[in-house]
């Protein structure tokens, strides 16, 4: 919140990639000593698959957080999108495009609703998106007991399982989406306005930025990304899953990935490159621990420590930069 934090940043390589390289190096060594191999085909593929799902959500989350907002409803949007896609496809390829269109449209509508609550009704984003998440949770809990619908075989074969070498198609999708968002942030008026709104809404408004419009757009894009993640998960699972989003902790994990990537939770500082690094870091830790067959619960403890430590490091650096 301090004024020191708001400094224009250049597109330097975020520190998270240093952490990622170190983690992979140490992880590779430890797994090797343990008698395993970290970078074999199957581990790499599953690492990139994990990164693709979380990454799509986190890239969208980056946009709203940069704008000084937040989206806690993404987990339920993910679940809803898997169901809409899988139920519309209903196991055939014929309805592939309408199904994807429907899932994305509904997701965008949820984002629009979030954005309007935050901007027009001036409800705090935490409460607004928590409330919308609860609305969706009730709908999902009421309508579904388990998996429903069936994903079209073509989608399963392509987005779900196809890969080029060790790189899954879904990860390339993440790279493409992240690239588009990066361009939007670095090169378009929307991107500059979004960072300005997140940095200081009052100054942005006085400079002629239409804060509300920018924030609503960010929320719509965030939900679209979550919807896309849902379509990807439907292609992996072969059906719609009403609890895949909340059980995967996509809401909190995506926020964690964003801040590990160096984006300030208060908004106005950061970028999508760091977020992809944060997602890869979380996925790598997962992969290393899986190789070492570490207890799943211990993994969670370590994950909590890493999230706090990473942000503490950023806070220190921001403080030093501010003082210099």
């Amino acid at each position: 919140m301090s004024a020191l934090a708001f400094r224009p940043t250049r597109w330097a390589v975020p520190g998270v990639f240093v952490a990622l390289a170190l983690t992979l190096a140490i992880g590779w060594l430890v797994v090797l000593i343990d008698g395993g191999q970290l970078f074999n085909q199957s581990t790499t593929v599953s690492l990139l698959h994990v990164a693709a799902g979380l990454g799509l959500v986190a890239v969208g989350q980056t946009l709203v957080i940069l704008g000084g907002s937040l989206d806690l409803s993404v987990a339920y949007v993910v679940s809803l999108s898997t169901l809409l896609a899988a139920e519309t496809m209903n196991g055939s390829d014929a309805a592939l495009l309408p199904a994807i269109g429907l899932a994305l449209t509904v997701s965008a509508a949820v984002g629009l609703f979030n954005g309007l609550l935050v901007t027009r009704l001036r409800i705090n984003a935490f409460i607004a998106t928590l409330g919308v998440g609860l609305l969706l949770k009730g709908y999902l809990d009421n309508g579904y007991d388990g998996p429903a619908g069936a994903t079209s075989p073509t989608l399963v074969q392509t987005l779900g399982y196809q890969r080029i070498g060790p790189v899954p198609l879904s990860f390339l999708l993440l790279v493409a989406v992240a690239g588009v968002v990066w361009l939007a942030l670095a090169r378009t008026r929307f991107g500059h306005h979004l960072v300005a709104v997140g940095g200081d809404p009052e100054v942005a408004r006085l400079s002629g930025v239409r804060n509300d419009r920018v924030l609503v757009t960010a929320h719509v894009l965030c939900s679209l990304c979550a919807g896309l993640a849902g379509i990807y998960l439907a292609s992996r699972l072969g059906s719609g899953a009403p609890r895949v989003g909340s059980e995967g902790l996509y809401d909190l994990e995506s926020i964690a990935a964003v801040v590990i990537g160096g984006t300030a939770l208060a908004g106005g500082r950061g970028g999508v490159l760091g977020t992809v690094g944060g997602v890869l870091l979380l996925a790598s830790i997962d992969a290393i621990f899986n190789q070492l067959e570490v207890d799943a619960f211990f993994k969670q403890v370590i994950r909590g420590v890493i999230i706090i430590a990473a942000v503490a490091v950023y806070a220190r650096r921001a403080l030093r930069k501010g003082a210099a």
Partner: protein, 327 residues
């Protein structure tokens, strides 16, 4: 950050004092009337007493959360802390009545310690409290699952469980008064005293503008850390009541953090700090519990509950929220 804005006349007349109690009392009254229409015997002493007893934990959590939120921070770790406390208590007591009191003291100390760690990391290392307490949530849940190999072990003694489940019988007029209600009243009175003390008032100043508070000689980090400690202790007391009432499970505290934050916001406390009252926060929790009771009476299916809850929260906050709370 703060700018004075002149508002049009009409909204200015309609607007209630930000942070005031009027909206939450109005909402509570509406819910009470709806309950009275549907289920008038709800207000008979026995059912009213047991309702208040059941609501005690969330009201305590809301009071603890109030101190953190009014100082400008968040505590997302209280739900996980409650779960951890209940599971730890069961394992340590292992159905031995003699261990009850030491474990109660230990739990209170553990709650305070977790709060202190949250507070110090947030204030000294400058990690946003959202992240600190989210990390703490993961750590606590992971650690407690790890420690008990995935299934709760041991058991709570009857001595321990009586706080959450026993009651004073044959009280004149009221009939059965749950211990939990007495605990609630005692801690609620304490919370009001703390909120009205110098510390409580300074805390509001800290939340309103930490920089000004700092320049006025307030040790902001110390005040905020103490607020986190209060929230941790509140979670410990809530855990003792919940463990007694509903027993040991990994789900004991699930979702309580969002419940407490919702209650606090319903009670007119501004997220971001600086405005609100602890009484409002506790009334907010009571309102939330009454809403759940009401949904029961009207036969709303369990699954649809969260939809109704979400809608009510959005409506209530949209109508009563101070107009400057958007970040």
């Amino acid at each position: 950050m703060q700018t004075v804005q002149r508002s049009p006349l009409l909204p200015r007349l309609l607007r209630v004092r930000p942070g005031g109690l009027a909206p939450i009392i109005a909402l509570l009254a509406v819910l009470l009337i709806l309950v009275a229409v549907r289920q008038s015997d709800f207000f008979a002493p026995p059912s009213l007493m047991s309702f208040l007893g059941r609501s005690a934990p969330i009201i305590l959590l809301a009071a603890g959360q109030y101190f953190v939120i009014v100082s400008g921070e968040f505590d997302l770790s209280v739900g996980a802390l409650v779960t951890a406390q209940v599971v730890v208590a069961a394992r340590l007591i292992d159905s031995e009545p003699a261990r009850t009191w030491p474990v109660v003291v230990l739990l209170l100390g553990f709650g305070a310690l977790v709060g202190l760690v949250n507070g110090v990391i947030t204030t000294r290392l400058r990690v946003p409290s959202f992240i600190t307490t989210l990390g703490m949530l993961l750590i606590l849940l992971g650690a407690v699952y790890l420690w008990s190999d995935g299934a709760p072990k041991g058991g709570l003694s009857d001595e321990f469980r009586r706080f959450g489940r026993w009651a004073f019988e044959d009280v004149p007029v009221l009939g059965r008064v749950p211990y939990a209600l007495i605990v609630l009243l005692a801690f609620a009175a304490l919370a009001v005293l703390v909120a009205r003390s110098d510390f409580g008032r300074t805390l509001i100043a800290v939340g309103d503008n930490p920089r000004t508070a700092e320049l006025s000689g307030v040790r902001v980090w110390r005040h905020r850390s103490i607020a986190f400690v209060l929230s941790g202790v509140a979670a410990a007391v809530a855990a003792i009541l919940i463990g007694g009432y509903s027993g040991v499970s990994f789900q004991a505290g699930a979702g309580l953090e969002f419940g407490a934050i919702t209650a606090v916001v319903l009670g007119g406390v501004a997220l971001g700090g600086g405005r609100g009252s602890v009484v409002g926060a506790m009334l907010g929790a009571l309102t939330l519990e009454l809403l759940f009771a009401l949904m029961n009476f009207y036969g709303v299916s369990g699954a649809l509950r969260s939809t109704v809850q979400g809608a009510i929260i959005l409506l209530a906050v949209a109508v009563s929220a101070p107009r400057s709370s958007s970040r």
